[in-house]
Structures are given as structure tokens and as C-alpha cells.
């Protein structure tokens, strides 16, 4: 056991900190979930990529540094500490890319990953549908085989597509085997017969409609697909394997990749700063909640470091990643609630804390609601019987 960073990791940290300190925009960019802000963020992504900070853990040939998991955590910590812009490319880099690395053909990897890293292609996630949120197996969007052109014709509707109105591509699940109706394969089950597709959003038949989120940004979109042709090369992981492929991505989304501890340590530090700045001192009752934010952020960091140590020895977190998601998402709400309580009547003014609060409320919902995640913990970690 050694909780100090190696000299090499510290050197990596110093390099990252120096670069971020010199390059992070002094004034915050407009929200990346608006059209104007998205463009500004893509410029930032280009800058990151040019300096090889966009995808530090990726192979060098795709623009990465082949950094270790530790160094990736170090980078994320420095990134959050520097208050650097949100990553509008994150759904591609952290959700799709791990799947492409695991299931993609070499051709797909070469075609997709470098453009993703450079921000040339931007990817939106097409999981949810109006009738299927947490219940992925209830998807209805479907693909029909087109042997003539060597591909599939996709129809249906995806919703809650983050930044879908601004992205160039979408990845998502479509039903390719009917489980009822004429020609159905009832044996396919609800989880089978799904295929993972990559869809250019400028393909004929695609309509994208942005709509407003709770925090006022046009951050969501509905994507309508009407007989959209995609070639076979845009199937990821094999026809009918979509469920397994998606689960791998979901694991990645819920696990370490999207929520490195640095972000919460930085938020907790900002909360402490806020509490310190209250004229006359924070109310005693609030002070304890501020301290608890610090404690929780530390707990999450140490849990993650412990987990990564295990991963480096080949112990995959598996369903334990549900614990990460439950902890960070609920901690994030508490931290922001405490900030608003410190701000008192000033808390309703639009600002970093009020926006952060609204955003935090999505944490316990997306990527599998916390109700589902608690079921996972109880059933898969504690072995409690399914209902």
C-alpha cells in the first residue's frame, strides 16, 4: 500500500497543470449545451487535442499519450481543479470509444477514433425512447435488412439525446429481430434481437428537434429516423449482439470513466470557499454540511483509488460500479443543495451554483436511475432475490 503518487505521475501532473494553467480560458465559455457554446467548446476541444490532452489514455496514433489509469485520474483531477470547460465530446470519448476499442473492427477503429479524438465527429447517445427509459429492453426503434444495398434501414424515435441538436453522429440500439407480429422470432426475447448502430445525423431521413432542459439549455434532442439507410460497416459488434455491446458501454458510463473523483473534490473545495466567504460566517448547521461535502468527496476519491488498484490487478468492478454512480450522483445533489442554502435568497439568481444544482438533479436519473442501481447492488452484490 502506497498512497503517494510516483515521480512519473507527479511529473505528468506538473505538465498537465502547467498546460492547463496557461490555456484554460479565463472567462467561462457559454454553456456547451447551447448551439453557440457548443461551437466555442469545440474550439477548446481542438486545442486540447493539438496538445495531446484530449484522450490521454488512448494510443498515441489516435492522439493519446498511452497514459495509465492513474495518470488519467491525475489528469482529470487537474482538469477539474483548473475549472476547465466541460467536455462536449464526452459521450463519444467515454461511452462510445470504450465499446469501439472492445468490439470494433480495426477498420472501424481507424475510421472512428481519430476523428472523435480531434472533435471532427461528435457523438450523441441514442439510448432512450419515449416508451423506454430505464427499461432498455423495451426499445421499439427498428432496423430492416436491405440486402441490395448491403445495410439496414432504420426507423423510430430516440429522445433525451444529450447535445443531439449539435452533434454529427448518433450511436444507439435498434431492434433487428421482431419478437411479435408477422415473421416474429418469439424466442428472441426482449433483450435479444437488438443491434448497435452508428448513424450519421446528416443521413437522409433523419430529423433532429432540440428541446430545453431544466437548466434552460437546449441540451436535449429528439431524433426521428424515417427509413434511414446505414451500411453494414456501421454495425458495431455484430447483428443481434446490441444488448451485450450496450451493456459493456453502460458499465463504462456508470463506472470510473465518466465520474473521476477530481470533479467532486473541486466542487467540494469550491463549496468550502463559498462557506468561507459568507459574511459573518456560515450558519453552524450549514457548516457541518459543508464539512460533510468534503468528507464525501474524499470518500469517493479513496473508494475510486481502491477500485483502480483492483482493476490494475485484473479485478473488474462489474456491478460495483453501480455503487460509484449512486454515491457520486447523490453527493453531487447534496453539495449543490448546501451551496444554495449558503447563498440563501441569492441562490435563485442564475449562476454556476444554481445551474450546477439543476444539472446535479439529472445525476440520479440518467445512466440508469438510482432505483435501478440500488436493485443492481442488492441483487448482484448482496445476492437478494429478484422480485
Amino acid at each position: 500500500m502506497d498512497l503517494t503518487w510516483s515521480d512519473e505521475d507527479e511529473a505528468f501532473r506538473a505538465e498537465a497543470r502547467a498546460w492547463l494553467s496557461a490555456n484554460v480560458p479565463a472567462a467561462p465559455l457559454p454553456s456547451g449545451d447551447t448551439r453557440e457554446g457548443f461551437t466555442a467548446h469545440l474550439e477548446w476541444e481542438t486545442k486540447l487535442f493539438d496538445a495531446r490532452w484530449a484522450v490521454v489514455s488512448w494510443p498515441k496514433r489516435y492522439g493519446g499519450r498511452e497514459a495509465s489509469l492513474w495518470q488519467w485520474l491525475v489528469f482529470e483531477e487537474e482538469y477539474a481543479r483548473a475549472g476547465a470547460p466541460q467536455r462536449v465530446t464526452q459521450n463519444g470519448i467515454f461511452l462510445l470509444a470504450p465499446t469501439v476499442f472492445e468490439f470494433g473492427t480495426p477498420e472501424q477503429q481507424e475510421r472512428i477514433l481519430p476523428r472523435m479524438a480531434a472533435g471532427l465527429d461528435t457523438w450523441a447517445q441514442g439510448w432512450s425512447e419515449p416508451g423506454a427509459g430505464s427499461d432498455l429492453a423495451g426499445l421499439r426503434s427498428a432496423g430492416v435488412r436491405d440486402d441490395e444495398r448491403g445495410g439496414w434501414r432504420l426507423s423510430g424515435q430516440k429522445t433525451w439525446t444529450t447535445r443531439g441538436a449539435f452533434c454529427t453522429h448518433l450511436f444507439g440500439l435498434f431492434r433487428t429481430t421482431a419478437t411479435s407480429g408477422p415473421g416474429a422470432d418469439p424466442a428472441a426475447g426482449r433483450h435479444r434481437g437488438l443491434t448497435y448502430f452508428l448513424v450519421p445525423l446528416d443521413a437522409p431521413g433523419v430529423t433532429v428537434r432540440g428541446f430545453d432542459r431544466l437548466d434552460g439549455d437546449e441540451g436535449f434532442a429528439e431524433v426521428f429516423l424515417d427509413d434511414v439507410f446505414v451500411p453494414d460497416e456501421n454495425v458495431l459488434g455484430g447483428v443481434g449482439k446490441g444488448w451485450q455491446v450496450a451493456m459493456a458501454t453502460t458499465g463504462s458510463e456508470r463506472g470510473l470513466t465518466l465520474r473521476p473523483p477530481g470533479r467532486f473534490l473541486a466542487t467540494a473545495n469550491r463549496l468550502v470557499e463559498l462557506a468561507r466567504s459568507v459574511p459573518g460566517g456560515a450558519s453552524p448547521a450549514l457548516r457541518d454540511r459543508v464539512v460533510q461535502a468534503h468528507i464525501d468527496a474524499r470518500a469517493y476519491q479513496l473508494f475510486t483509488l481502491h477500485q483502480v488498484s483492483g482493476m490494475l490487478r485484473g479485478r473488474q468492478p462489474g456491478p460495483a460500479s453501480s455503487m460509484n454512480k449512486l454515491f457520486w450522483s447523490e453527493m453531487d445533489v447534496r453539495i449543490h443543495e448546501t451551496a444554495l442554502d449558503l447563498l440563501g435568497e441569492g441562490g435563485e439568481v442564475d449562476g454556476a451554483w444554481s445551474r450546477g444544482f439543476l444539472f446535479s438533479l439529472s445525476g440520479p436519473i440518467y445512466a440508469g436511475t438510482n432505483e435501478i442501481q440500488r436493485n443492481v447492488v442488492a441483487e448482484r452484490l448482496l445476492g437478494l432475490p429478484r422480485a
Binding site: S128, D135, R213, S283, A285, L343, E345, E348, V349
Partner: protein, 387 residues
């Protein structure tokens, strides 16, 4: 001992409730929201004012004004069910400020704007000073008259003034709840601006304090209404929304979350009614000449109000949280109505004393003092551990 509503309260609610149910729709709230450029829309505000005039025709605005002055001559307790309903529909006007805070002051002062106000043609906003020292005026962009309680001792002769909106310099402020029409005071009023409602610093302080406590109670009633509305929307949603082939409302986690929030609301309601009754019975109105005497009974009415505000604010926060979570992603879009009520609730939780403040107020009344920071810091760990 009898908790049954008085006939006056029932009649007021019946008269106004019909108007509110018919006119105060979510679309009306949306009409009061700014456009994308964050400017309030005159047509929308006009629509809101029409509803307010219709309500005023039912006597709502003058509920607390004596019959000789053109009001209904009711007491604060009588208005609680009405204010709860105003919260339930999310009426986007400064109703508590106008009916509860200002109307009795204007009537006592024989202010010339009183008839306009009672006819629903003049809305009143009330300013507040935040922790950061800014003077914010909720509904300031929408109001005709403004009271700045912090100002009451600053004019040369001392006293509490009411200003015409045009007499003050301010700037609009973007807020989480767009319908709050918040304004920030850009500079102090000139000495000769406004008209004096209460003369002399002592009497002004007493009158402003009494109005503040009335508004704290009124805000509690509105919060109970908002909380009840959020739960009502959510209950309807989870009954019909299907996941995994069943209504999500059949899951125990959803049931228990909504049951807990419902209990919080149901236990807040009698406390708000009781505090209204207490304030009506023992008004610390401070409108009489001479220094006010804080009697034991008036203190009890304040304590009852603090109890009510804590319960109502905590119930509203819990209801908002549970409602958003039980909806899932749809709660997170502005096209769905839920956010209109949640955002109002978040704005009102800190208004007129947040729960932390009211608990501290009660603590003083209960004779609870805090540990002195000095004593804590000086002790050795072993002794400190016992503190």
C-alpha cells in the same frame, strides 16, 4: 379547540378557487416567463394581470383590509387556504407581497394607491437584502409599487416608504424561475422618492417586522400548495407511465418516496393553518403608535410561524426532489410542466427566512445556546471528544 376552517376562509377560497382553477393554468405561468433573450414579454404579463384583476373582483387583494377601506376585513388565518391554492396553481404574481405584506400597510396609511391595488391594477413587490449585500426585488420587473424594508430607517425623518416602480433604478436579473421577474436595485432611492407608509424608525421597524412575519406565513402556505401540486402531477404520471411492463407507480421505491413526501406535506398543512390562526389572534402588527411590545403571545405566534415555515419549506424541497426523481428524464425538460412548480418552490424556500434561520430563531426561544467556538478549539482531543 376546533381546526375546522371558518366560513370566511371557505368562502374566500371558493370564490377565488373557481377563478384560479379556470384561469391560472401552466400556460399562464409560461406567459410570465421571459423569452429566449431573457426579456419578459409584455403580452404575457398582460395576460397574467387580467387574471389578477378577476381575482381582485372576488375581493382577494383586500382580504386583510378592513371593510371600511374597501376590503373584506378578514384575518390572516382566513387567507391560508387561498394562498395555498395560489401556490398550487403557481400563479406568477407577487400575491403574498401584495395581499399579505403590503395591503394592510397601505390601508393603515390611507395610501392613495389603495383603490388601484384592491382593484387588481397595482402589484406590489418587496425587496430583500442578500448575504452578499445586494438588494433583490422578486417580481420587481412586474410590480407597480415597491417596498424596501431595509430602507425604513434611512430617509432623513426615518420611516417605511413605498415607491412607484419608476422611481427606482434597477436592472433585470436572470433567475432559475423565470416567472419571478427578479430585479436588482442599482442604487439607493433618493431621499425624496416614494411616499411614507409609517413614520419614525421604531414604528417603521415594527411595522416592517410584522409584515415580514405575515409574509413568512403566507410563503409557507404557498409552499404547501406548490408541494401538493408537484405530488399531484407526479402521482398522475407514475400511474400511467409504464416501465418493465408495469406502471412505475407500482414499484415500492416510487411508492415509498411519494408516501414520504405526501406525509411531509400533510404534516406541514395544519402547522401553517395554526400559525395563521395564531398571528391573527395575536397580531404583532406594530401599526399602532409608540414602540411595540413583544408580548408572550406575539412571540408564540412568531414561533408558530417558524415551525410552519420549516415544515413547509422542507416538505416542498422533499416533494420537488421526489417528484423529479420519480418522473425520470421527462422531469428534466422544460416542455413538461413540473419544473414550473419546482423552481418556484426552490425560490421560496429561502424567502422570508430559510429553514436554518427559523430553526435558529426557535433555538433562541427554547433557550438553546451554541457551544462557544473558543472552548472547543482549546480542549485536548480526549476532553473535546466528550463535548
Amino acid at each position: 379547540m376546533d381546526f375546522e376552517l371558518d366560513q370566511e376562509a371557505v368562502a374566500l377560497l371558493a370564490a377565488a378557487g373557481a377563478v384560479l382553477d379556470a384561469e391560472a393554468t401552466p400556460d399562464l405561468i409560461r406567459a410570465a416567463w421571459p423569452d429566449g433573450g431573457q426579456r419578459l414579454r409584455p403580452a404575457g404579463l398582460e395576460q397574467v394581470r387580467k387574471v389578477w384583476v378577476t381575482l381582485a373582483d372576488q375581493g382577494v387583494v383586500g382580504a386583510l383590509v378592513g371593510e371600511d377601506d374597501g376590503g373584506l376585513g378578514l384575518d390572516l388565518g382566513h387567507t391560508v387556504p387561498l394562498l395555498e391554492r395560489i401556490g398550487y396553481v403557481g400563479l406568477p404574481v407577487p400575491a403574498v407581497e401584495t395581499i399579505v405584506y403590503a395591503a394592510p400597510l397601505l390601508a393603515a396609511a390611507g395610501h392613495p394607491a389603495l383603490p388601484d391595488m384592491l382593484a387588481g391594477r397595482a402589484l406590489v413587490a418587496v425587496g430583500t437584502t442578500t448575504a452578499a449585500g445586494k438588494t433583490l426585488v422578486p417580481h420587481g420587473q412586474q410590480a407597480d409599487l415597491v417596498i424596501l424594508p431595509e430602507d425604513r430607517a434611512s430617509p432623513p425623518e426615518g420611516g417605511l416608504r413605498v415607491f412607484a416602480a419608476g422611481e427606482l433604478a434597477w436592472e433585470p436579473v436572470t433567475t432559475v424561475d423565470g416567472a419571478r421577474a427578479l430585479a436588482r436595485l442599482a442604487g439607493p432611492p433618493t431621499d425624496d422618492a416614494g411616499t411614507v407608509l409609517v413614520r419614525g424608525p421604531e414604528a417603521a421597524r415594527a411595522a416592517a417586522d410584522a409584515a415580514w412575519w405575515r409574509a413568512a406565513l403566507g410563503t409557507s402556505a404557498v409552499l404547501v400548495g406548490l408541494a401538493a401540486r408537484m405530488l399531484s402531477i407526479t402521482i398522475a404520471y407514475v400511474k400511467q407511465r409504464q416501465q418493465f411492463g408495469v406502471p412505475v407507480g407500482s414499484f415500492q421505491a416510487i411508492k415509498h418516496a411519494l408516501a414520504s413526501a405526501h406525509i411531509a406535506v400533510e404534516f406541514a398543512r395544519p402547522a401553517v393553518l395554526a400559525a395563521g390562526w395564531e398571528q391573527a389572534r395575536f397580531p404583532a402588527d406594530g401599526l399602532a403608535a409608540g414602540p411595540p411590545r413583544a408580548t408572550q403571545d406575539a412571540q408564540e405566534a412568531q414561533d408558530a410561524t417558524s415551525v410552519a415555515k420549516v415544515l413547509a419549506a422542507d416538505a416542498a424541497r422533499l416533494a420537488a426532489r421526489a417528484s423529479i426523481q420519480c418522473h425520470g428524464a421527462i422531469a428534466y425538460t422544460t416542455e413538461y410542466d413540473l419544473h414550473l412548480f419546482a423552481k418556484r418552490a426552490w425560490a421560496l424556500i429561502p424567502a422570508y427566512g430559510d429553514p436554518t434561520w427559523h430553526r435558529a430563531h426557535l433555538a433562541r426561544g427554547l433557550g438553546l445556546r451554541d457551544a462557544t467556538a473558543g472552548a472547543t478549539a482549546a480542549a485536548a482531543p480526549q476532553q473535546r471528544a466528550a463535548m
